[in-house]
């Protein structure tokens, strides 16, 4: 699903990623571990081009999204991302947070289809071989209603439907992060990227967020998780990547990597954190 080929990222003279090649298959749950400053988060952010890679390719569904010429927004809609700091839109209520992207993308696509149809119609008047119009079987109101229904369904799933109309500033960290997760889910992504989703949470709220991620994993969502929660990594991952100094030093199943690490750096790191 995602092929990463010799991915490099520099900040000025600082080489953060020094050539990463890996493949993420459908249904895999990949957990990236490693010391801070090892480039884990940068790697994750390169997967949906939040950071533009300096060189190399990120091939998502057959398209190299690291290429500056592709419309990255279209591809990002298929990749959900969850941040350490939640990043809910502060000026929007919870339900608006969830609905914003589906509604504005839906309306944008509707508008584009209508404009295209207008030109096709104009062209069809003058030429004998008629072109087919793009079927438009939706409307602004319908898009909004569908997005709202979906948002409420997602809120119900995490048991926060009573918070639909409050602003994020009144929520706890755990609630914010769960809403951030379903905000990403509202776009029906093919893969979810988690950037240390529990690092900014109080210990007692870590559980509720991990439970939700675990549920998604069980449903077969493809995911890439950067985390320091080793227990969670062991339990959820199908593959663990150990990164240090901008390289993947070791990748293996969690059972292998946690009980029988091969690389000396992995051994050293795990002996410190476990």
């Amino acid at each position: 699903m995602i092929d990463v080929i010799d991915l490099k990222k520099n900040y000025g003279n600082l080489e953060v990623l020094k050539g990463i090649t890996t493949t993420i298959n459908k249904g895999e749950k990949i957990v990236i571990i490693g010391p801070s400053g090892s480039g884990k988060s940068t790697f994750l952010r390169c997967l949906n081009c939040m950071e533009d890679p300096t060189s190399g390719a990120v091939i998502f569904d057959g398209v190299n999204i690291a290429d500056m010429k592709v419309d990255i927004n279209v591809h990002r809609r298929r990749m959900g991302m969850v941040f350490q700091q939640f990043n809910l839109f502060n000026n929007k209520t919870v339900i608006e947070n969830i609905m914003l992207a589906p509604v504005s993308v839906g309306i944008q696509e509707l508008r584009r289809a209508k404009i295209k149809n207008f030109f096709t119609r104009a062209r069809n008047v003058f030429t004998p071989n008629k072109k087919v119009l793009i079927p438009v079987n939706t409307s602004k109101a319908k898009i909004k209603a569908e997005a709202k229904e979906n948002a409420l369904r997602l809120l119900k799933r995490i048991g926060l439907e009573d918070k639909a109309n409050v602003y994020p500033s009144t929520l706890s960290g755990g609630q914010k992060q769960r809403i951030a997760i379903i905000r990403a889910l509202a776009m029906n992504p093919k893969v979810m990227l988690f950037d240390e989703p529990t690092s900014a949470l109080d210990p007692e709220m870590v559980g509720e967020v991990l439970d939700l991620i675990r549920q998604l994993a069980d449903e077969g969502m493809t995911m890439v998780i950067v985390t320091h929660e080793m227990g969670f990594a062991k339990e959820v991952a199908t593959r663990v990547l150990f990164m240090d100094e901008g390289r993947i030093l070791e990748e293996n199943t969690p059972a292998e990597i946690f009980s029988n690490p091969q690389n000396p750096r992995t051994k050293e790191f795990l002996s410190k954190v476990l």
Partner: protein, 236 residues
């Protein structure tokens, strides 16, 4: 102070009995019109300039726009507003062959002028919004422009409202120079009363009081607006 009573009487005569108040009302209307519409134009121009200024600069078009905006800000902050008014009314518009009422010229000049100041206010506002907000918008697949207009700018405006209020108040007071190009504002009205009663003490005193009241009302409105915008905030 018997003298003062006489002065008030004289003022009242022109103000009330000789319909001086209609001039004052027109002046008040024009003053507010220039300040409000000018600020609206200023906010639009200022927001656009601020967005250009915070744009990532790896595309050439962004750098060109940035150059234009820098020049614009330098031009309008580098000259007094009176000079801008005079140049616009007596140089630029005649050269372009455009005939425009003085009042509209004033609105335009004050809008352009305030745009230069608002751009810097707005830029600081945009920079004060957590970069995570932009990232989150981009991560769900919204474009830079949509995220900017729907997420970042509304939060920026909330942050800069007190400063924007300052700009509005400054604008109300600055309009007192529009008589340079013959637009009728409060100064023109009270000057008329003064010159007809040969007595300037009371008219100018009343004019000053009207400005104070205007500014007080403006400050109050800004406070109310600020409070309503703060509803998504914990600082109520």
């Amino acid at each position: 102070m018997g003298n003062f009573d006489k002065k008030v009487e004289k003022f009242w005569e022109i103000f009330y009995e000789h319909n001086g108040y209609t001039k004052v009302l027109t002046g008040l209307e024009n003053t507010l019109y220039i300040a409000i519409v000018g600020l609206a134009i200023g906010i639009i121009i200022g927001t656009l300039i601020a967005i250009v200024k915070v744009l990532p600069k790896y595309k050439r078009i962004a750098r060109i726009l940035d150059g234009i905006c820098t020049f614009y800000v330098a031009l309008f902050r580098g000259t007094p507003v009176v000079v801008q008014l005079l140049v616009a009314y007596y140089v630029a518009l005649p050269l372009l062959g455009i005939n425009m009422p003085a009042l509209n010229v004033c609105v335009l000049v004050f809008g352009l002028n305030s745009g230069a100041y608002v751009s810097e206010i707005m830029r600081s506002g945009i920079l004060s919004v957590d970069p995570g907000q932009m990232e989150a918008g981009r991560a769900v697949g919204l474009s830079y422009g949509v995220t900017m207009m729907k997420i970042v700018v509304p939060q920026a405006i909330k942050n800069i409202l007190p400063t924007l209020g300052n700009e509005f108040i400054a604008l109300i007071k600055e309009t007192s120079v529009v008589s340079f190009v013959g637009a009728a504002d409060l100064y023109v009205a009270f000057n008329y009363i003064g010159s007809n009663s040969y007595e300037f003490m009371v008219p100018y005193l009343v004019m000053a009081m009207i400005y104070i009241v205007l500014v007080a009302i403006a400050a109050l409105l800004i406070r109310v607006m600020e409070r309503s915008l703060r509803k998504s905030d914990r600082r109520n």
